[in-house]
Subunit: 262 residues, 4 copies
Amino acid sequence: MNDIQSENDDRRIGIDKVGVRSVRYPIIVSDRASETQSTVATLDITVDLPHHHRGTHMSRFLEVLSRFHRETFIDKLPEFLAEVRRALDADRAFVHISFPYFIRKTAPVSGSKSLQVYDCWFDAALGDGYELRIGVDVPVTTLCPCSREISERGAHNQRSQVRVELCYERFIWLEEIIETVESCASCELWPLLKREDERWVTEHAYDNPRFVEDIVREVTLRLQADERIRSFVVESENMESIHSHNAYARKAWVRGPGGADD
Amino acid sequence: MNDIQSENDDRRIGIDKVGVRSVRYPIIVSDRASETQSTVATLDITVDLPHHHRGTHMSRFLEVLSRFHRETFIDKLPEFLAEVRRALDADRAFVHISFPYFIRKTAPVSGSKSLQVYDCWFDAALGDGYELRIGVDVPVTTLCPCSREISERGAHNQRSQVRVELCYERFIWLEEIIETVESCASCELWPLLKREDERWVTEHAYDNPRFVEDIVREVTLRLQADERIRSFVVESENMESIHSHNAYARKAWVRGPGGADD
Amino acid sequence: MNDIQSENDDRRIGIDKVGVRSVRYPIIVSDRASETQSTVATLDITVDLPHHHRGTHMSRFLEVLSRFHRETFIDKLPEFLAEVRRALDADRAFVHISFPYFIRKTAPVSGSKSLQVYDCWFDAALGDGYELRIGVDVPVTTLCPCSREISERGAHNQRSQVRVELCYERFIWLEEIIETVESCASCELWPLLKREDERWVTEHAYDNPRFVEDIVREVTLRLQADERIRSFVVESENMESIHSHNAYARKAWVRGPGGADD
Amino acid sequence: MNDIQSENDDRRIGIDKVGVRSVRYPIIVSDRASETQSTVATLDITVDLPHHHRGTHMSRFLEVLSRFHRETFIDKLPEFLAEVRRALDADRAFVHISFPYFIRKTAPVSGSKSLQVYDCWFDAALGDGYELRIGVDVPVTTLCPCSREISERGAHNQRSQVRVELCYERFIWLEEIIETVESCASCELWPLLKREDERWVTEHAYDNPRFVEDIVREVTLRLQADERIRSFVVESENMESIHSHNAYARKAWVRGPGGADD
């Protein structure tokens, strides 16, 4: 059978990325509290394609993935990408892995235990060097400072999503990023809250009003202060309780040569 | 060319519904305030298929739709379905049309004007008789009665979605259903709120706490009292500000022979 | 602290379902090939609420879930629902659990192994009796019989989704339903196909053309012949390669007293 | 009432973007064939926020939008952004507008008319200068060259999505981008195809096999040859009929000083 993909291509156009997308596969990730955690990932795996090749061999992405998914995958991303690059005969290999990640949380007053889900992702590239960005969506409560200030009673509040994506110099746990974000919100969330907890979170949010701008600034201050972090993007989005649209803020930051804001 | 779809089928299995799904088309709908409104619909159009036919002729659904979409479509659903049924040589024809619908709203204090979107749908069937169900998702604010009662300050609140689907004996405007739902919530939403409006909605929500159960019961009472309505389903879902999951309630109701709860 | 939820309600309106929605939690499911499989579920858990209670106690749903999720959950749904019903002091309890489920597949010629994902769900209710519906979305290839017949070369084909939801009298594995559906399509899917496999699936699909109507009828014949099955709904939806809308067919069936079509 | 948003902020952190997201509003767009077209947009509107201001005034985004939406919006984006920037007292203003856009198509043999939907977007920024990127998702058919070559009969094919986003020096119609993309695919799509058309599209796709890589390269060649275009990104994604994951390719390009590939 002819190998059409290996045919010469004379259009002289190299392709930045080619591969498979929205592949769902079970994976194992490292977990600070309990060593490992089984979860289900969605993966995009791609390589570059030089101008003289007509096509890539899509099945090889799955072959490599099938060999790696039973291990603690994330810890071996450089090996995984090296293997993809080798199998596809490419210069650069890329992978984006997103997955739900669960952390056991303890309610603030009752001490009730439950598992909170966080949508996380790893975005890695292997070319001349290796680059990794890790990200997480952290759901929190925000309570509007303006609404609290101008109203005689109550204050509008809502579920918000805070997204952080960062590059680090030295290893950082997802749990650390999540704790940082949660400490910057009006209140963090728990799946299981008894009545005494609900009172605590209501009053705690009321006592810590935050705009989307505040969340972004507070997270920025904390992440800038962490010398392991080289760059980040933080976004905050409120599912406003008083509107059917959302409020949004975003900041990107890169550590300068002397550690300054870029 | 052979007409494979018209071939005989000897498996003796009639099909309930066959047709096209997720067709997007511009449509015109009647609007209580300004006669007509242009919007973009997603349509599923189907017919039944007797056991002796192998397949239906999918292109005919689009032919009929192309003839009807420029008129005030919804007012002509019985004609549209009769035409679908005729074109497909079927006994029954069905259509589900969903579309965003805009209503001009006036902020409660400042009087500022803006357009609020509502996701609406019409679900119609023509067989021995004609049946129509109309539905709408109404976004509102709910403020938790428990949180307010047990807390010294504040109360958690959030954006909620109230879904109503109903059958009527006599014509009801979507606007009427929307107003009914909004009057049952802790507060209705406006896209554009000035500071004096934000104060009003904050205090109004605080003064009208509602569980998802309360929303469902209040809407139920109003719809039961409207003699034009034959049956309905009401659902309320809070995007809880203190959890990353939702709170939910649902009630279905059919008017009995003497008008009683069924 | 007052228990607002337990207050009397004098609106005299019982609520069909009230509870939590879109809860994400890790679960363990039974797996025909390897005993158990870890996956991530999305759950809706509800109970009925008598007319004289104002509200339900949402935290208890999470408490019960937190106790059950580490076991092979699905095998214990009656116990789980009994526990929910007891904890919420209700007459009826309901749960809808959806989750990705992975099956190891072997490519038809090369014998290459890979994991195929299927979106599955369990829908259970405990009232006077216990009812369970299980469902699965099976992605397959369909090749159009009309296109093949009328064209001199080629035939349009596409990815399709076949959805089956059924009630059984005696236990049926998800794997059995999936195999049934896959045997009715133009071709089943594999994540990993080498060139010799790709040839096989191309020719196999060309040799087995199927309309959405054919899929529904073939699946219907197989499921009717399985005496363990009491009722089912089968739906087939083609992401047509020649249109940006889908083709769709649906059939519902209930076994009659003597086993006949209802 | 205090204006909390206007308070001084001493955290010394400027914010890149702050504003409203997922606002749905009816808009009017220019249409090459019939002057204007009414559609429904989803908008994100943001500004930068200097470090010394605590918050932005979210209602003003909606005020400006409410004044502009009844005109042919897209033609006035620089004015719209200037007005947003003025109302929010900002240095930079940004808007992302996405909307379904309909084009009347004529089937290749029968000449039947129908409306094909395309998801389009405009992404504009006003700072020191004005920048505009326009984008469109074009659904097409792709037929696999490898499958055709190695198989004795048939060839797998599928619906694909080709995404183009570009910056131009001189005005380009969305219709022109769409026609370019459609001419590079195995076949373009029509909502309404009679049997003679279905034969034509089946054979046309068979005669024009394309990998995702081919689509990207063909579109690249055409867009590079159009001197009005300054830069573009083209992506192609196949909803593979033989897999439940997708095949994907991507290329970004910027015209060099002398017009060369950058």
